[in-house]
Amino acid sequence: MFYREAGQFKTSYAADQAIFPILQDRLFVIAVLAVAYLVIPFISTPYFLVTIMIPSLIFCIAALGLNVLTGYAGQLSLGTGGFMAVGAYATFKMTTMFPELNIVIVFLLSGVFAAAVGVLFGLPSLRIKGFYLAVATLAAQFFLIWLFNRVGWFSNYDPSGTISMPPRDVFGIRVVGSGAAPEVRYLMVLTLVVVFCLLVKNLVRSRMGRTWMAVRDMDIAAEIIGIRLMWAKLSAFAISSYLCGVAGGLYFAVYLRTVETIAFDVVLSFVVLFMIIVGGLGSVLGSILGAFFITAIPVILTRAPHDLGIPISVDMAQHLEVIIFGSLIIFFLIVEPHGLARLWQIAKEKLRRWPFPY
């Protein structure tokens, strides 16, 4: 009833190709943004911002990155944690070497390093695919973590290899490091997420996105219609790792603030992979939904029993979390391979037909 595109005729290809062709969708997105910018920072507790919103938003960028590579270009990667670590250490090195450099620029630049490393570790994708590639990307994961852990230069020779984010201001406002208000951190990350979502959405509905999807769906046919597989795959690796790198920088500087390399181990790679499977492979919306969903589970799992008065040990909660993650993956792969994003679409379809069942 309320969600109808009836009567909204497109009179030009430009209107038909718009990012949200349907009026209700446009209104909905505007409403979400308004809530995110104008309501959430003022009504939520710092706890909620710090444990749910900030990590979820950071994972949105990482998930977006992996989705470009795996969901759009069809190259399965298990190296996300490694690429995020590159971003984190690049952020740390740059900001300690050039303390004057605007920290937002530092974040954006650290993605460039991750992109370069991503391209390097993406080279095997020119020869191998599928599961073989997944194993090759594990090389990135394990080698990079080892590198940051063992080579003192990366952590400015901290004996335990730990890096800590020094405080940084932008326009006189403390945005990272001790003393940065959760609201400010939240708004900064939110803005980056909005920008990157928009850019990626634009990319995937342009030539680049079609190139990636062609390679994903059938690489032989893609080559025969003139796509250079090498460019298609390496560009996917570059852009994907760029986003993962930026996410890694934020994960370190804005969320954890003090990290050891272990924070970026292979489990992180799986967590981000789970986000895009649950959220929806090959969907920008799916990356967002998945990131929020998977980030929220552990928090809910540790809070809910407590709130309900069921005693549950930390260990138990952790094991349950692992089981739930695993089951969710299997569940979604079997029942809804297109993830939450698809469920959302189905819900919209229903809404459109309402009150009729078909």
Binding site: A139, F143, V322, I329, L333
Partner: protein
């Protein structure tokens, strides 16, 4: 210059100066390699029958080990605990077939691979939920200690590990060649559709292969557990079977063993002679990087044949 020397020439000097030590290092590497091979064989069995790369094989090793330790701690005698664990592994195989593989039967293999990643988490979570996540000591009375052959020290336990790997391979080969199920299994591996059309129950085959993989996981769990205790890191160690498989080619059990040895020896020698210069712990990545570089030049693996795709 000095760096180059240290890197390119120095280690070889060391090898020549202390050959006995070198041989011991190699033997240590082979022992590690057999351990990888034990896990890799589990992968290979499932791959051969279904084309699925079972990422959960490592979790199954942990699960089998934990279950065995759990039964032992409940006071069961060893033989009973072993049988009970095998029963649990078969039940697990059945459950996996029902819940995961069955519903995904016609999906692309990469989807099944991702599903086994999820499965890996589930199995691991259940194992630890049921038996706790501390490090468990496992002692099933395998011989420990060492003896000398000439100047070279040999660990009895390593011999046992090699022996069981060998026995396992022989058992699998015999099973494949001489039993009805084994033949059916090979038929399925050759051609799913054809196997189905002559009435081989595919689902049955899958339960059996996953059971075999479960038993192999138990053997690997016992070996690993005796050496290092049963703990979560087993899952990570088992990851290393993946590059081993890539080198060896997925459907070759001999390939798995040869590649396991290559990786085991390679990473140990590299760590001892080169790793120290680089800060140590290079075995964390050595296998993967070798596999990655190797794949770049020979995508079909060590023993695989190059296939030309068709359209």
């Amino acid at each position: 210059m000095q760096v180059l020397f240290d890197f390119l020439i120095g280690p070889f000097f060391q090898i020549f100066e202390a050959p006995i030590f070198f041989v011991e290092v190699v033997i240590g590497g082979m022992a590690a390699g057999i351990m990888y091979a034990l896990v890799a064989i589990g992968f290979a069995v499932i791959f051969k029958a279904s084309g699925i790369v079972n990422f959960a094989q490592g979790a199954m090793v942990l699960f089998a080990g934990l279950t065995l330790v759990g039964f032992l701690q409940m006071g069961a005698p060893l033989w009973l605990a072993l049988i009970a664990t095998v029963v649990v592994m078969v039940a697990l195989a059945y459950a996996v077939e029902r819940v995961v593989l069955g519903p995904l039967v016609n999906q692309p293999l990469i989807v099944l691979f991702m599903a086994t990643i999820g499965l890996s988490f589930v199995i691991e979570g259940f194992g630890e939920l049921a038996w706790g996540s501390d490090v468990h000591r496992l002692d099933v009375g395998l011989p420990r200690g060492s003896f000398f052959v000439g100047d070279i020290m040999i660990d009895r336990f390593h011999l046992v590990a090699a022996g069981s790997a060998g026995a396992l391979v022989v058992a699998i080969v015999l099973f494949m060649q001489y039993t009805k199920f084994g033949r059916a299994l090979r038929a399925v591996a050759d051609d799913h559709q054809a196997a189905l059309s002559v009435g081989i129950p595919l689902r049955m085959i899958w339960v059996i292969t996953w059971s075999i993989a479960g038993v192999i996981a138990l053997v690997a769990g016992v070996m690993w557990g005796t050496q290092a205790g049963i703990q979560f890191s087993l899952v990570l160690i088992a990851f290393k079977a993946l590059p081993v498989l890539i080198l060896g080619g997925f459907n070759s059990i001999t390939g798995a063993i040869v590649a396991g040895l290559i990786i085991g020896v390679g990473e140990t020698v590299f760590e001892v002679y080169w790793g120290q210069m680089m800060g140590g712990a290079t075995e964390n990545w050595f296998a993967y990087v070798v596999a990655m570089i190797f794949l770049f030049f020979r995508p079909q693996g060590l023993f695989g044949e190059r296939i030309i795709e068709r359209v």
